[in-house]
């Protein structure tokens, strides 16, 4: 038997981590932007508790000494989302989606798996209030439909609902997301 008595510390996946970080940043900013331009989304957010903190992260997020991609949004006045950033501080989120690996996050963020498929395949854990979870997923779906062309959004959501004045909203959404306003 060959015995290798050497610890093998796993390397990193810098490009995939960067890609997922960028996508999460974009999703966070887009959620904040869509809450400003879409009344239906604001109506959904109204049902969330005041100051509700929601996050999406990748395992091993939360482990001391390990940096992993994440994003957090919080409900603010006027039933809007505010993009907080990549850390939640000391506060425990009301709802947190944690992808079990960077590869699982890549499957979703490269649209090879729908969010609902990823959930069915247990690619991520969902921790927190179920009512918040349902509301958040509906808002996420709506955001994806507004952000993405039908051919991609149709792969991301379970049912593609037609949106009123979609193209105008899309332009506005992208502008606000990128500018952070």
């Amino acid at each position: 038997m060959t015995v290798i008595k050497k610890e093998i510390t796993p390397g990193k996946k810098p490009f995939k981590s960067l890609y997922v970080s960028v996508m999460l940043w974009f999703v966070g900013r887009a959620l904040a932007a869509v809450s400003k331009i879409d009344k239906e989304v604001r109506d959904e957010i109204a049902a969330l508790p005041e100051g509700c903190l929601i996050g999406m992260a990748v395992f091993p997020f939360g482990y001391p000494g390990f940096k992993a991609p994440a994003m957090f949004v919080q409900k603010t006045d006027g039933n809007r989302f505010r993009y907080i950033g990549t850390r939640a501080g000391s506060r425990k989120p009301d709802f947190l989606i944690t992808f079990k690996s960077i590869e699982a996050a890549m499957l979703v963020f490269t649209f090879r798996e729908k969010t609902v498929e990823a959930q069915a395949y247990a690619r991520f854990t969902a921790d927190g209030s179920l009512a918040v979870a349902c509301t958040f997923v509906r808002i996420l779906n709506k955001t994806e439909i507004l952000l993405l062309p039908k051919i991609i959004a149709g792969r991301a959501v379970r049912r593609y609902d037609r949106q009123e004045r979609k193209h105008r909203k899309r332009i506005c959404l992208y502008a606000r997301t990128l500018a952070g306003i």
């Binding site: 038997m1 015995v3 008595k5 093998i8 510390t9 796993p10 995939k16 981590s17 079990k100």
Partner: protein, 369 residues
């Protein structure tokens, strides 16, 4: 009515991306530093595991690479585990390697080699040692998931021997050293599932595992993608063996390794299946459920019980031909059966198991006259 107890102690994680959850699952059982025990000829799998652990919290404590037929690998694994301060075992390899790792785990958990431990009595482990396996294709029969095979050949069953999790990832199974023998592996799993299904007293959960195995083997036979095919076969192998844990002692399964010197296990099982089939009984519902998966033509499930049995036998043999296109029509010979009976008498099977095997072989000898 009494039904056999059933227990299935492993979490099955199967499919594209299974390996990517390795760190997450290990962390879930408080394991951060596994000792990796890999077969020498499964380097591709070993590399895949190390790659899968990138960007995670898991650190591999060290690697033990085993050669085929190595003597006493368990002792080396135990020594290495303790000297490197590992907290779990991660195994990649064939049935012999998995057995060696089970042996090592039992010793690490209970403080004594399994040959010196009485697993029929209450046992509290001294320490929790997580044990997971990454599946590769294994044509050899090996132990059932809840079994350990001692050096003497004796088989001890205990729930303590189940791996905590089994990862079946097509990226790994598709590059197994034994990938060219995938037909044999599938055929062996097929017959194991059929024999498990024929036990009316086994728990329905055990029969459900057998039915799931049949579905996957049938799907594998029709799949063109090699990685996906091998993944389905590995799934089916594990499920069929799990089904057998809930079954009565099956003399055909136990005696097969003694026939033909243990070569061509799948062909031997096929031969035994053909001989044993008339005496096997199956629930009508199980036949229907199986045929829906084995035969594309829906009308195959129409008919009385005799018709369904005939269809089932034919479907199993047709599937075998697809899996083993070069298999012949092997028939048992008196001399072969006689040698097998002698080997059974010398083996470490217990008295009841020996009697069962010898009765079965005797029946075959009479039929062979």
């Amino acid at each position: 009515m009494n039904i056999r107890p059933f227990y299935s102690g492993s979490k099955i994680i199967s499919g594209r991306g299974a390996l990517d959850t390795l760190s997450f699952e290990l962390t879930g059982v408080n394991a951060r530093k596994p000792l990796l025990i890999a077969a020498e000829n499964e380097r591709a799998a070993e590399k895949a595991v190390i790659r899968a652990l990138k960007a995670t919290v898991t650190v591999i404590g060290g690697i033990c690479r085993c050669r085929n037929g190595e003597e006493n690998p368990a002792k080396t694994i135990v020594r290495t585990f303790d000297s490197l301060g590992c907290d779990s075992l991660l195994a990649i390899g064939n049935a012999d390697l998995i057995n060696a790792v089970k042996t090592a785990r039992a010793e690490l958990s209970f403080g004594r080699p399994p040959a010196e431990t009485d697993f029929t009595r209450p046992l509290a482990p001294r320490r929790a040692v997580a044990f997971v396996t990454v599946a590769v294709l294994t044509p050899e029969p090996g132990a059932l998931p809840d079994e350990l095979i001692l050096d003497s050949g004796a088989r001890i069953p205990s729930p303590a021997f189940y791996p905590d999790a089994v990862f079946i990832d097509p990226r790994v199974t598709g590059k197994s050293a034994a990938v060219s023998r995938r037909g044999e592996t599938a055929a062996a799993a097929l017959f194991s599932a059929v024999f498990a299904l024929s036990d009316a007293q086994s728990h329905p959960a055990a029969r459900a595992c057998a039915l799931a195995a049949l579905q996957q083997i049938s799907e594998a036979a029709g799949t063109r993608s090699l990685p996906e095919q091998t993944r389905l076969i590995a799934d089916a192998r594990f499920l069929s063996k799990t089904a057998l844990t809930g079954s009565r002692f099956v003399p055909e399964i136990a005696a097969a390794p003694f026939l033909d010197g243990g070569k061509n296990p799948a062909e031997t099982l096929k031969m035994l299946f053909e001989c044993a089939f008339p005496a096997l009984s199956f629930a009508k519902d199980d036949l229907i459920h199986s045929l829906m998966n084995l035969v594309p033509d829906e009308s195959a499930i129409d008919g009385d019980e005799q018709t369904l049995r005939r269809e089932f036998e034919a479907a199993v043999l047709r599937l075998t031909e697809r899996l083993l296109p070069e298999s012949g029509n092997k028939k048992p010979t008196r001399s072969g059966l006689s040698e097998a009976a002698e080997a059974v008498r010398r083996s470490a099977l217990n008295k009841e198991q020996k009697d069962g095997c010898l009765r079965m072989l005797q029946n075959l000898m009479e039929a062979a006259e």
